[in-house]
């Protein structure tokens, strides 16, 4: 070891460092979307079972985060955004992250199977495999479509939540999946537009690096345009309704407008105002997903409270 901070850090990490391996911010999104999946399903789940199921879905997500940090610690060291993670900073050894990830994967899948059902547990196991092996080890460093495929892993939690309640898969849970799946590429590509240097330094084939920013702007517009009908279409399934429809119409119109603006801009315009529109679109994408799932939740509360009969 050449780095002084690494010498001090080895072997004795704080508890919080292990928590950081689980990517708590990603976990919070997993908790939210999985909870919506459980709640909007037509089958009632005992509150404690629902709580335990969501906890272990989140833990499974955390496990795949730890496996990702184990495998990616070489490129995390290079990128400014990730250089402070527990492994690159030397507080946790790569082997510790690997064993934590593997054990938590095993525990979370087993406990979800025992608490809820084995369909939900099976999808969780597949999600962890997909994120850790298919995305992290295989596709992330190989294809500029990495974000598209990685997005699938993040899209599974509401589907798992739905399976916890119903024990199966249906058109509603697939639509919740596609909502996150189609949302992920424009969300990350917008980030890549103003974080380009990092990815090129680490050698990750981000679309902005391999195909240029012009193409990235075009792809953002295409994905946003494909996302809109799917997001709005969800309103006409059993989990939709007028609350969700009005929220989805407003959000998608705004999101499309943002993507259109990005497409019209070039790099000179973006650099002139320090990527203001790109940063705005990125922030918008965060509330876009949050509010869609929030609207689904509100719609379900509305229906379950029996308010639908009044209209």
């Amino acid at each position: 070891m050449t780095d002084a901070t690494q010498q001090i850090g080895t072997g004795d990490a704080e508890f919080g460092d292990y928590v950081a391996l689980l990517k708590p911010r990603v976990m919070s999104l997993v908790v939210f979307t999985a909870a919506v999946g459980v709640f909007v399903a037509p089958v009632a789940v005992h509150p404690f079972i629902a709580f335990v199921a969501i906890l272990f879905i989140a833990l499974g997500g955390g496990a795949s985060g730890a496996l990702n940090m184990w495998y990616d610690h070489d490129i995390d060291t290079v990128m400014r955004r990730t250089a402070k993670r527990p492994i690159p900073s030397g507080r946790v050894q790569p082997g510790e992250a690997l064993s934590l990830g593997l054990w938590l994967s095993f525990i979370s899948v087993t406990m979800l199977g025992l608490a809820a059902n084995w369909v939900a547990a099976g999808i969780l196991a597949f999600t962890i495999f997909f994120y850790a092996v298919v995305y992290t080890m295989w596709l992330k460093r190989w294809t500029p479509q990495n974000i598209v495929i990685g997005g699938a892993a993040g899209a599974f939690p509401p589907m798992i939540g739905w399976a916890v309640a119903t024990g199966g898969v249906s058109v509603e849970s697939i639509l919740m999946f596609t909502l996150i799946f189609m949302w992920t590429p424009p969300h990350f590509w917008a980030l890549a537009l103003f974080m380009n240097e990092d990815y090129s330094k680490a050698g990750v084939p981000m679309l902005t690096v391999t195909h240029g920013r012009r193409e990235t702007r075009k792809q953002i517009l295409i994905y946003t345009a494909l996302l809109a009908p799917l997001a709005i279409g969800t309103a006409f399934t059993s989990i939709g309704g007028w609350i969700y429809l009005s929220v989805a119409l407003y959000l998608n119109a705004k999101f499309l407008l943002g993507a259109w603006k990005l497409w019209q801009r070039d790099e000179d315009m973006a650099e002139a105002d320090q990527y203001r529109a790109e940063k705005k679109y990125f922030r918008q994408s965060l509330s876009y997903l949050f509010l869609h799932f929030g609207a689904l939740l509100l719609q379900a509360i509305w229906v379950k409270a029996g308010m639908e009969a009044w209209f």
């Binding site: 004795d12 990490a13 704080e14 508890f15 292990y18 005992h46 404690f48 079972i49 335990v52 906890l55 406990m111 025992l114 608490a115």
Partner: protein
């Protein structure tokens, strides 16, 4: 007895031990809670012993 020096590393270790302890306690509480809920919901609680199990007994036909 040798003098003991409290080092920052000891604080980190004890913090970690307390964290692991709490996680284990939480896990015990979850397993206990799950057991209570599953039994309360009338799940399959028959053991595989020599007792008569009505759920797998063929109904008598007259």
């Amino acid at each position: 007895m040798a003098p003991r020096v409290e080092h920052e590393i000891h604080q980190r270790r004890s913090g970690r031990n307390i964290g692991v302890g709490l996680v284990l306690l939480g896990f015990v509480a979850i397993v206990f809670g799950l057991t209570m809920v599953k039994l309360g919901n009338g799940g399959m609680i028959e053991g595989f012993d020599h007792a008569v199990r009505p759920s797998i007994t063929e109904p008598e036909s007259n």
